[in-house]
Symmetry: C2
Subunit: 418 residues, 2 copies
């Protein structure tokens, strides 16, 4: 069997594929007798196989030329697998602690072989639903965000390097268009894909479609998403793209990557933590009122930003005499100005973070793809109540984001909203 043409995997084909691929078969010591294969893809787009042998393991992810959640009626370039593996490698080089190693990539087959994030790794969102604290999360994710975003921006690199990435990732246009549609457009219009907790939120969904101020801001955020080539971003950094244990944090699923606004990544993470916060009341019960856990989430939001700020500006200081072309040393290397420049940059980025994060909150409540944080609240009335609170906060954040000067003000606003 050869694989010179694209073929969707099944278990039998996958075994043949592994046999003909040393980069993978070596990982399991070329032993196939006791191989366990399991398709576990629970994402919206792709197929994921866990392959475990007696001496090793890996994961194989394959993109089919359509959206898994919808089916063949929603075609989607399988080239997204190329951009995912390319980004895993680029971000992995910048932050190996928090990105699974890529063992193999096959562009024809849209197939990536990568490290299996073995148990007890679970999807962060599931941990947040279960009420589990992750003491290293803020430290780790701020590390990942600071290092990937800083090093792929013009603060660190030359225009020549930068434009090379910009050009290459332009070909990942279908994934960008998907985001444009489901995040920045569908929630603000009647769309067959939209859904919400009905009838409770019928009026809330309608109100969003009628809110001119909100739609004005949505247009600005969409334009920034489409136009601003600031850094090589992950593009889908919500809490289901992150796997965690108590001492490990791993970022996967970077198929939406392109050179876009940094705030879209930082916002995805922060926005999804805020969603998790508002979902907690729906998970509270007599054993656990989740009050303490909610405080942990707020603390994690605050720490993530504070640490990100620290690490990003520390990288900036460290490389201020480097080859980055945005802020040339002869112009900006005086302590007072350097501080001024960084403060302005980080305040602008906080505002982008809040805007994008809140836009992503809105789309998870009234758009096509919802989140387990709310979906797992069985009682619809209770779920709707949580969702409405989140929606109100998201609208406020989109509209008033420029008034927040620090993350602690944001956290205070969230705390006081309840």
């Amino acid at each position: 069997m050869t694989f010179s043409q694209f073929r969707p995997l099944d278990e039998k084909i996958l075994i043949e594929y592994i046999k003909s691929t040393p980069a993978l078969s070596d990982k399991i010591g070329n032993k196939f007798d006791d191989l366990k294969i399991k398709e576990v893809g629970d994402g919206n787009l792709n197929f994921v196989y866990i392959v475990v042998g007696s001496t090793g393991s890996f994961v194989v992810k394959q993109a089919l030329p359509y959206v898994r959640l919808i089916g063949e009626s929603w075609p989607m370039s399988k080239e997204r697998a190329y951009f995912e593996s390319l980004t895993l490698k680029k971000h992995g080089k910048l932050c190996p602690e928090h990105v699974p190693e890529v063992y193999h990539f096959d562009r024809t087959m849209s197939l990536t072989g990568m490290r299996y994030l073995e148990p007890p790794h679970i999807i962060l969102r599931k941990g947040l639903v279960a009420g589990i604290e992750y003491p290293m999360l803020a430290e780790h994710i701020s590390n990942y965000m600071a290092r990937t975003l800083f090093h792929t921006s013009l603060i660190y690199r030359t225009t020549t390097e930068h434009k090379r990435d910009v050009a290459e990732y332009c070909a990942n246009v279908e994934l960008c268009r998907l985001t444009e549609q489901v995040v920045f457009s569908d929630p603000y219009r009647v769309s067959q894909h939209n859904r919400w907790t009905s009838p409770y939120l019928d009026r809330d969904a309608e109100a969003i479609r009628e809110d001119n101020t909100l739609k004005l801001e949505a247009a600005e955020l969409k334009s920034m998403f489409c136009e601003r080539a600031q850094a090589l971003i992950h593009g889908d950094l919500h809490t289901s793209s992150i796997m965690v244990t108590q001492d490990s944090t791993q970022v996967l699923d970077s198929e939406f990557a392109f050179v876009g606004p940094m705030g879209y990544d930082t916002g995805a993470f922060v926005g999804n933590l805020i969603l998790a916060f508002y979902a907690q009341d729906g998970h509270a019960n007599q054993e656990n009122d989740r009050k303490k856990y909610k405080e942990w989430i707020l603390k994690t939001i605050e720490e993530t930003w504070v640490l990100f700020y620290k690490k990003f500006t520390a990288l900036w200081d460290e490389h201020k005499n480097g080859h980055g072309e945005a802020y040339l040393p002869e112009i900006y290397n005086n302590p007072e100005l350097q501080l001024l420049v960084q403060k302005k940059f980080m305040t602008d980025l906080l505002h982008d973070t809040l805007g994008f994060g809140a836009a992503k909150m809105i789309r998870r409540i009234v758009g096509v793809a919802h989140v387990e944080d709310f979906e797992s609240i069985a009682d619809a009335a209770k779920r709707a109540k949580c969702e409405r609170q989140a929606l109100e906060m998201a609208k406020l954040l989109v509209k008033e984001r420029r008034k927040f000067q620090s993350i602690s003000e944001v956290v205070t606003a969230i705390r006081q909203s309840q």
Copy 2:
């Protein structure tokens, strides 16, 4: 003689080239006896030959792999000729009245054959120095800017079309980097290329290098220039890239084109008109105090923006149900919101225009490349006085641009500065 390899032209080679190129030789009826050839390139970068026969004419422009003004010590990709001809064609399709027709392009030779803009066409800057009014200028240039910028933005086109241009023009990186350096960096640091009217402006040049607020804004503008893929811009739209008669306005020299911020084009034009305004006192004499002419320049600035605003938003209205992906009709097609969205867009664009325009004024006074408007003022003290006024206004515009709500406020500020 074949031209399968790059060769710098001279008159003899050019004649051979024309003979072997029907697209050019046809233009002169294949008659070579009475051919007149003249190299007229007065720009900073390239060589321009005017070819006139008894039955027709054309211009041949060739890019050499270095900057003409400096020589071989400043290498510069000759691929810029490709991007120039590509842009002349794209913009020419959108606005044929104001872009010379391209007859022929040869990528190997970096050679463009195009319409000869015959006399009385002169470079607009020369007309401004001579004190000549151009009654159609605002009408024409606003037409050119509105049509080229609107149709190459996401208001008009799809993300897929847009990213194709973004990717292709990333390869014009050397020209972008040249702008980054000479417009956004060199004026704010000590650079061997910088010069100014010394000793008069020594202290002024130093003050710019020490002005933290100004440098903060310069960084923001530079980042926008590098990151924001808003429309296919000309990239060098100053008054020497425009040839005029009383009833014709032609935009040439688009070798700096890329998908960048619209305000960089509108700003280039407006900023260079403001330079022309402040130069007038240096050209005044007993016959002509230039007072009336100065008012004509201010009126042209105001009319250009007002007409641009009208035409750009009219195109927007006309195409609001089209395939453009920034503002989808189901979301934005209600008259009140449409007005709100356009007002916000145009106000932001005015601020970008002032920022970029003023940055380009500054660089023409203390940077490497100066303008004839000032250079032709023989008396250095008088010249310095004009330049200082322009510099002060430019600094104010960069720093306070967000306070201006309309172009008439800008014109008033300029008028009152004297």
